[in-house]
Symmetry: D2
Subunit: 339 residues, 4 copies
């Protein structure tokens, strides 16, 4: 049950509400975000929600039976829009492409990528400065030094930055240099990290776990929301399967289902979703028809020389064609709304 | 290695070829189909294929390193087209929709479905008369009686029939009443059935196994081809995964990869691929962008009363909208070819 | 609901029973096996089963809520024992080892294997004469010729034969030469084959599907039972997973759970269950502690030269040590029953 | 390649070694643990390792082709033993049972559990004070307060403590109150946490990821080792599968394979491995025959009232019988070594 509070609810009114919840054996969790104040009440008893809805200081009340609450579409029917400033928005009616290398490797590479993105009208650049790697002996990224150089150039070019954060301690130092925090698949249920990201006013792109369920992804996002940050987008990046013909199994079903279950934007990552360069495009286009609200993909000046993920990274030439098709496919999907 | 033979190759020339293969320790399998005569030679030794290619009676020779041979795109670069007669074709440049109920239930239902299909310009009707069911106590289909009634009405309306065959003994009795034999997921590696279907001159739609790999599907189709029947299409219908939010996990990656590996048409089954009515449409549209050559889907006058699979079956009203979007999506994909 | 009938129930009494079932909207399926006569009644209505139990001609009545009925432990609490004759039994209190090559390859190989089995006190020999192979160009087995030669030698040595049957047509010709029909993983839901095996009076070992669920396995065995054959054992042989370090993922959980759900004997196949020779032994021993009623495993005189599955096949020397440990582990498990 | 250094290697000798590595294009990572000093050199070139082995200051050198190095059995053939003090050891020749509740709930519960463990000769108590929960609204554990109370009682009773650590910041405050840090499945690839655990001199039990591969688990443990901590044990706790009859699929194969690949002790967690109380015992016993070096399991005074995981938790009465069987099964496995 989600109880939306009035901005000016008094301390006394709140106390009465909590007492009321106790009488029906519900536990009320107070949530204060950038956009609103809520009590998320969890319990089992059936009761008439109007008995609470009519109390003073209450703006609205919604029954939400899902294990996730605030991210559910059951109480917030309109899709959430995330505003990055400078006219860059994410969510229904806006369709961002985020592109860039797997890893930030050098200033020269940053420059080249920015030029490519600007030429193609892309506003958000992806790239890793902290890299989760299976082996401790592999390249782990350029860290804050790399991020600061990237930030300068990106800002100059009017680009927004999305990059992965791996631990709580990195949040503060990174916050000034990024526009979107990305949480990787391996940290999809790193609950302390999610808690901490709920306490900053920066958008978060949360990836589905390597074999995460749709429900686990939604509940993970609830951690962020319930700590105070409503600016969340979810990302389908393929799940682990028995099939060896590709890296991950892109779950097109999940996109359709997530669009039904949550008001948060759903971003598609076809690069990890199939993991093979020449098939990134069909998966990207398919995900749009599945309902995705945006695409994040890997591009590199010379994919075969990339420090990581080269096998799934597009060259600029390939990517340009894909961008054009992405835009046309999105346009057709929008047209379908009017059918 | 695939050796295409001349139509008029002499007995002597064939013998010399087999002797030649023996000298390099290859086993030659003779294959005679509706469209050609081949020797599929399997062995390990490296050798100069020109030494065979220049022999008399040989039309062409191709090295194919895949475990499947005749269905590989490595020797037959142009996509195969299956001609059902009366202008109904399947394969690149033609995009069939096949629709109908899960089970054929009654004459009245057949009539109603046919009317719906004719109204919507659909030429191929699906429906089961032999149903594979997990439980021996469930409805198993109307059998040959149902098929014969269906055939009469379909023929009168100019519709083609696709229906599932479950065992070798059914092939002969069914052959006169159907246009496409469907092999279900549970029989995807029923090799005796595949062998037998290779010996009839009827198109076969072969579904991927419940957790079949892409390679297993291609090798299963090689059984049909190598027994003499080139008229094969492959069908992606979702694979089994840990996720409980849907029935099967539609493998969009498989469609893109199959289009690269084989010249056979790839059909998408979004109804089984997600198993939830309201998400059939986005999965159908996505699969087109993934590269599918056609769609097979379940429709029913009153899905909630269907004998089987009602939860994933569209009503006529829903289906009509979906057909329109399918056609527009396919048109856009065709347009992409010219980009 | 399972209604056990008296042997001498009259036609009239049966008719009254069916009429009674109709009044409560249940469908009654008559089942006549080697050991008993039953009506399996399927329906949804709650009612007092005593109202049927007290009718004439009824021996006993049991409510079984599982989707499978006759194979459930809910009505038959005592484990089933399968008697192969000559003192060879399968089921609680008897622990058979079945061993032999993947494929029957030659008379010499049969002879050598039989000697090995006799030396080690093993009574049941496994081996394939019809082999399901992913590729149509692979070795498919020696067929009936091989089986007949094998039969002669096995009979002379007092060994029982278990071998795979792949299609309905093979059942009759094989029946005189085998002691147990094996249904392979790929045919685990070949319902026509299961139906037909229900009509012969020969034991059947039914393998779990490649990614079959426990419930599907039980329902598949219900096909055999409900067609008249109670002599069924189920076999865990590993399921498909994402892990690449082994061939299949042996599902130890399934053994424990199957022992709880069904009265049928559960056989463990560690050879396919892990697919790597040196780990067959620990998996075999583990499966005994998990609750298995017997082991089926691959042995070969020279595993590295076996026509198929050599990588998971034990040599005679290795196998001898494993047999000894199997027997000691089983003895300990029996001892646990008295704790 | 692992280069074991002499304790007294000089700065100059080290420099020469690094220069040598550079000439063959290897990257040398220096590792200093509680027990030794190593250079882990990663590269691709083939060369004669004796050319390094004979340099001064080098104790030994080993080629290790696995992606993990220091945890591989290829250089350290003898199994590692972890000594917790007071005669409590983990590793070949010692077979610890670790038991206790899922969550530490109250002083009374701690007391009761300790009594149960002491009565049964169990030396290591498990329990969670920081709980990873799918939902942010679920019970998250008693935290440091709970740990401190537990520590006092456990120390008084002579018991060792194993409990989960979830984030880097918790390590220091927990270190004085625990004997083994547990890393849960969701943090199995939380590389920052693993790095930090490599820097403390406390044993770590690392659980396999929810759908982690065997290789990923080994590489994750390499993070801990390469940061300086050799006291690591790995834990199989079941993987995610499509089967719905249990919570996780206990991977018995993984135990056998891990024992072959690494010198680290392998602990089995049958409670999570199947997730159903009545099947915990057979899975526990099976895992011993599979090769496990110890068992960790959940027990509770009143499982049905446990704050978490009650459905897979044994009562004291049940657990006592299981302990006895565990010990007898382990004794038989030890006996097998002498066969």
């Amino acid at each position: 049950m989600i109880i939306q509070l009035e901005k000016d609810i008094s301390h006394d009114q709140k106390k009465k509400l909590q007492e009321k919840l106790e009488t029906i054996n519900y536990k009320g969790n107070e949530v204060n975000t950038q956009f609103g104040d809520y009590i998320v009440a969890v319990g089992k008893k059936e009761f008439d929600i109007r008995s609470i809805g009519t109390m003073q200081g209450i703006r609205d009340i919604h029954r939400v039976s899902d294990p996730y609450k605030l991210v559910s579409k059951k109480w917030k029917v309109n899709d959430s829009i995330i505003d990055l400033g400078d006219g860059v928005k994410i969510g229904t009616g806006h369709f961002p492409i985020m592109a860039g290398p797997c890893s930030i490797e050098s200033e020269e590479q940053i420059e080249s990528t920015i030029q490519h993105l600007v030429d193609n009208g892309i506003k958000i650049m992806r790239g890793g400065v902290y890299k989760p790697r299976s082996s401790p002996y592999a390249f782990r990224g350029l860290g804050m030094d790399g991020l600061k150089k990237w930030y300068q150039q990106a800002k100059a070019a009017g680009l927004k930055i999305i990059t992965e954060v791996m631990m709580v301690e990195q949040i503060q130092e990174m916050a000034d240099y990024i526009d979107i925090f990305q949480v990787g698949a391996r940290n999809s249920q790193n609950f302390n990290l999610l808690d901490a990201l709920g306490e900053v006013d920066k958008p978060v792109l949360l990836k589905r776990g390597i074999s995460g369920t749709i429900d686990e992804l939604l509940q993970a996002s609830e951690y962020i929301f319930s700590n105070g940050n409503e600016k969340i987008m979810l990302c389908e990046r393929g799940i682990r399967s028995y099939e060896k013909a590709y890296r991950n199994c892109f779950d097109i079903n999940a996109i359709a289902i997530l669009k039904e279950k949550t008001h948060l934007p759903i971003i598609s990552d076809p690069s990890h979703g199939i993991g093979v360069r020449k098939f990134v495009e069909p998966v990207a286009l398919a995900s749009i028809m599945g309902g995705a609200d945006g695409i994040i993909m890997e591009v590199h000046q010379t994919p075969e020389k990339a420090f990581s993920d080269g096998q799934q990274t597009l060259s600029y030439q390939q990517a340009e064609k894909t961008y054009a098709k992405i835009r046309k496919t999105y346009a057709l999907r929008e047209e379908f709304k009017r059918m």
